[in-house]
Every structure is written in structure tokens, then in C-alpha cells.
């Protein structure tokens, strides 16, 4: 309990410093904000154009597709918001030796990595996701009861953990190869497949994104549970198990990697 309290206090302190840091340059901050809204606006416009072309896909109606798309954005956004600094491990921190500083402080190393940054860009994904889900609620295509709402929250959290686990695993490879950014980018790109029903892909791809890098489980597969009575709740169960298993594998890999960390010469 003491540890939880200490870490939540440290998290607050570190994130506050991060915000003070980005506020130091007000111009940068405002430009960033402007760019962010522009990106999101264009994203939504693009989405509208895409869905105008496809009224129906693999047995899913247009409105259901919108829900799946929106539902996919939320775990992605959550992970993006809180753990974006994992990318730096993959691209820079290990090869440059800047990872040293995490090793010198009396705090959990993984905690230090994620507590260094919040990614405000993620608010875009969360915003778009929320808007699309509100639209789905208004259209009445979702099953809404206490159980489904609870599952909705659990599914989103488990999905975010799966994202984090995949990022952490590929970032950890940096301890062996120094820069693992390209591996991480490739793996992360696969998540784009998860925004649409996986039936539209070739078998091989479908297998990979379901069981190897299980992005299908962060969006498309659980989304069905909220749309169709026929879909069993076990899909959420499998999602949670995958989240735990993948996070455990990634975390262990990360720690084995730290043991191999070689720093860098001055």
C-alpha cells in the first residue's frame, strides 16, 4: 500500500514537471495544439470519405463499422497517452546510453520510462473514439445494460494493456540490437488492421493479428460483443487473458534486456 501511494505521488510529481517543461515555450505549445486539431479534423474528414464508399462490409452495416472504428480508437488512445515514451527506448535511449539515468534512480525502471511523458496527441484518438461511440449510442446499435457497460470498461483497459505489452516487447529488443524502432514501427502498424473487420484480410494476416500480435483482440473481436447478442462474453475473457499473458512476457523480456544493457561510451 505504501508503495502504491509513493508511486502515485511520484507519478504526479513527474508528470507535473513534464507539463511545466512543455509549457516553457508557449509558442511551441500553441503551435502543437493547432497542429493537433488540424490533424484530428483531417482524420475525421478522411473517415467520412472512406465510409461513404463502403456501405457494408463482410456482413457489418455502415453504422456498426463506425462503432468498431471508434471502439478501436479508445484503447489505442489510452496507451498512446500514457506510455508513449516506450518509443524512445526503442529508438534512442538504449543506443545513446541515456537509459543510464533510469538505472541510477531508486524507482522501478518501467515506471520511470512511462512517467516521463504524457502524449497529448492521444487526446485526438480518445476524442474521435468517444464521438463515434456517442453516435453509435444515439443510433441505438449497441447493447446497453449494466453488464455490458462493465465489460466495455474492462475491454478498453485490457485492450490498452495489450497495446502497451506489444510496444514494450518490441522496444525491449533494443537491449539486444541497440535500436529496435523499425521492429516496433512495423508491429505497431499492424494495429491499423484492427480498425476494420478481420474477415476482409487474407488468412495469414488474420492469424497474425489475432494470435501473434493480437491487435484483433483490442478492437474488432470484442466490439462484436457490444453489437450482437450472439457473441459470447468469452471474447472479453480471452482479451483479458491475452493482456495478462502478453504483458507478463513483455515485462520479463524488458527485465532480461535491462540485465544486458551495455550503456554507451562517453
Amino acid at each position: 500500500m505504501h508503495t502504491v501511494k509513493r508511486y502515485s505521488r511520484l507519478y504526479r510529481v513527474l508528470i507535473t514537471q513534464f507539463f511545466k517543461g512543455i509549457m516553457q515555450s508557449k509558442v511551441d505549445f500553441l503551435m502543437g495544439l493547432l497542429g493537433f486539431f488540424l490533424t484530428q479534423f483531417l482524420g475525421i474528414a478522411f473517415l467520412y470519405l472512406v465510409f461513404q464508399q463502403i456501405p457494408e462490409l463482410s456482413g457489418w452495416t455502415f453504422k456498426q463499422l463506425v462503432f468498431i472504428y471508434g471502439f478501436a480508437q479508445i484503447p489505442r488512445g489510452l496507451d498512446h497517452l500514457f506510455t508513449d515514451n516506450i518509443w524512445m527506448v526503442a529508438w534512442r535511449l538504449v543506443v545513446s546510453g541515456d537509459f543510464d539515468r533510469y538505472m541510477l534512480r531508486p524507482m522501478n525502471v518501467f515506471f520511470q520510462v512511462i512517467a516521463e511523458k504524457l502524449q497529448p496527441d492521444a487526446l485526438g484518438e480518445l476524442l474521435v473514439g468517444s464521438i463515434l461511440i456517442v453516435m453509435s449510442l444515439r443510433d441505438g446499435i449497441m447493447i446497453v445494460d449494466g453488464f455490458h457497460i462493465a465489460m466495455f470498461v474492462i475491454s478498453i483497459l485490457a485492450g490498452a494493456v495489450i497495446y502497451t505489452a506489444i510496444k514494450l516487447f518490441f522496444a525491449s529488443i533494443a537491449f539486444w540490437v541497440k535500436v529496435s524502432g523499425p521492429f516496433l514501427s512495423t508491429a505497431y502498424e499492424l494495429s491499423n488492421f484492427a480498425k476494420y473487420p478481420t474477415e476482409i484480410y487474407a488468412k495469414g494476416i488474420r492469424f497474425v493479428i489475432t494470435w501473434i500480435i493480437p491487435f484483433a483482440f483490442v478492437a474488432y473481436l470484442p466490439a462484436g460483443f457490444f453489437l450482437k447478442e450472439s457473441v459470447s462474453v468469452s471474447v472479453i475473457g480471452i482479451e483479458c487473458i491475452l493482456a495478462v499473458v502478453f504483458m507478463a512476457i513483455s515485462y520479463v523480456t524488458f527485465y532480461i534486456g535491462i540485465g544486458r544493457y551495455e550503456s554507451a561510451g562517453n
Partner: protein, 348 residues
Amino acid sequence: MIEVKNISKSFISPKKYPGLKGTIKGLFSNEKVEKVAVNDISFSIGEGEIVGYIGSNGAGKSTTIKMMTGIMVPTSGSCLVNGVDPCKKRNENAKNIGVVFGQRTQLWWDLPLSESFTILKEIYDVSDEAYEERMEFLNKVLELNEFFDKPVRTLSLGQRMRADLGAALLHNPKVLYLDEPTIGLDLVVKENIREAIKEINEKYKTTVILTTHDIGDIEELCRRIIIIDKGTKIYDGTLEHLKEIYGTKRSISVEVRQYDKVKDIAFDELLQVEKDAYETEYDGEKSVFTISFDKRKIKVPQILSILMERVDVKDVRIEETQLEEIVKQIYLEQKEQAVEELEAAANE
């Protein structure tokens, strides 16, 4: 305080071949190259000692420090810092140590320095009272007030170094590791930093381990030095002892009016020593005559009186061997030894 036993570290990297062809070949080969950075080093350091850890570039200094701080895991051997194995209990060890890497700051770059101290206070769980007390002391020895509210990125190198040193000491660590703490600083700032290190060591009995290329740091701070070369320890002892063994050369330079008179002095006869017991040199442009000799065979006053009696001396300078030269000499001996060993091995 610190026990290092038979510690070694080797890095394994894929073998590289030259040229474009080589690069492609390298992609498909599985050959590995092992580079031993630290080879079977042992030493122990007591509480309150200031130890200079020196060696040429790539000798393995930083690697040893990184193993002692818990950044790297040794390939073999063990290390205990204040009874804690830094690799097994990284967190616990981190509370006991302070680290300053001369070329890399630990501070929050974009924020005012004061913010870094606020964060560190939280990270190391420093109580308000302890914080006040430490800050008062740090302000006294490092004069942090001058730039306490300025963003770290706007600090000069000297200021940043003082700030980093202060930050490493906020939690009153038992051991302080300094990796090149005076690199790139001007003389005055260097002097300040050294003074601060001395005061900290005296007041809090902080054990200090210092790597440096600056011989001045060593001479002013360290009673004991450890020298390593190519990953192996080649000297461990006091500075005085080192100077006694290697620093026996003295040289006297005199500025004279008439060289002819100096040239004809037969030092060997006057002092009753062999001709090769000393060396002479003359710089015609500055009219400086230099004689160097072994202080065990010839005494400085003897030379001086001979010179004073015979020539008109305008200026005198007496020099003892600089530590820098001693270190160079040790390296050279090591190298010669290695060459001899190789030759011996080849002859067999």
C-alpha cells in the same frame, strides 16, 4: 564500503568486415567478437576515502564505475557497495549512491534548476528538515543560489557541473561516483569543484570515487589512486608511493647570460657520478640551460651551488616529475612488457 572482487566485463558484438562486400558478408555470418573491457579487477575502498581511478581512454574506467553503480551487470565477479549488490538490488543501491557523469546531466533540462531539486527531493524521499539542511550546505559550498531559478539549459558548463554535483548529493549518499567532474572547466571553476568535493568528504565522510584525465584533480583530492590499463589494474596505492617509485626525476632550468661557461662545467667530475646520471639541454633562443637527473643520485642544492659559483644566473626553475608523466611511463612499461611477452611467446 566498497568491495570489488574479480570483476570482469566483456562485450560481445557481431564480427564486422571491411567494405560493402564485408557488410553484406557480416549480415549472414554468425561470428562474434569478444572485447574484454574490464579484466579481473579487485579492490576495496573504505568509508570516507577519496580514490582516483585513472587510465587512458578506453581503459575500462567508466565500465567499472557503471558496474559499481548498477547500470551494467558484470560478466563475472562480484561487487558490494555498502553491503548491497548493485545489480541484484538496484533500487536499494541507488538510494546509497550519488552519481555525476561529467558529460551527461541528470537534471531536467528545460526546467529551472529549483524544479530538479524539488523532484529529487520526492524521488529520494528526503524529509523537509533534511532538505533544508542539505540545501544550506550545498549553497555554501557550490553557490547554487546564483542560478537556482534559471532553466538548466541556460546554465554555463561550470554552473551545470555545480548543479549536477549538488543534485547528486541531495539525498546524502554514502558513496559518490564522479566520472570526469572537471572536464572542460576553467581553472577557477575546477578549483571550486575540488574544494566542494573536499568539504563534502570531510563533513559527511562521503566515500568518493573519481575518474579523471586531469592530474590536478588527483593531486589535490586523492590520497589513493588506482590505475587501470586495458581493463587490468596496474597500480593501487598512495600517490606519494607512486611518486617515490616513478617520480625520481628532477630537472633544474636556469636562464644564463653566457652559455660557454655552462657548457664546460664537468658535472660528472665535480659530483663524482657517472656521465649518464644526468642529461643536459640548452635552448639557445631563450638562453635556458636545463639539467635533469635522478634525485636519488644527485641532490638539487649540489647542482645549484655549482651553477651559482660559475655563471651569472638570471632565473631558476626546479621541476619534479608530473604525475602525468608517471602515468605515461607506467603505460609505456606495460606496453613494453606486453611486447616482450609476445616476442617471447613467438620465439618459443
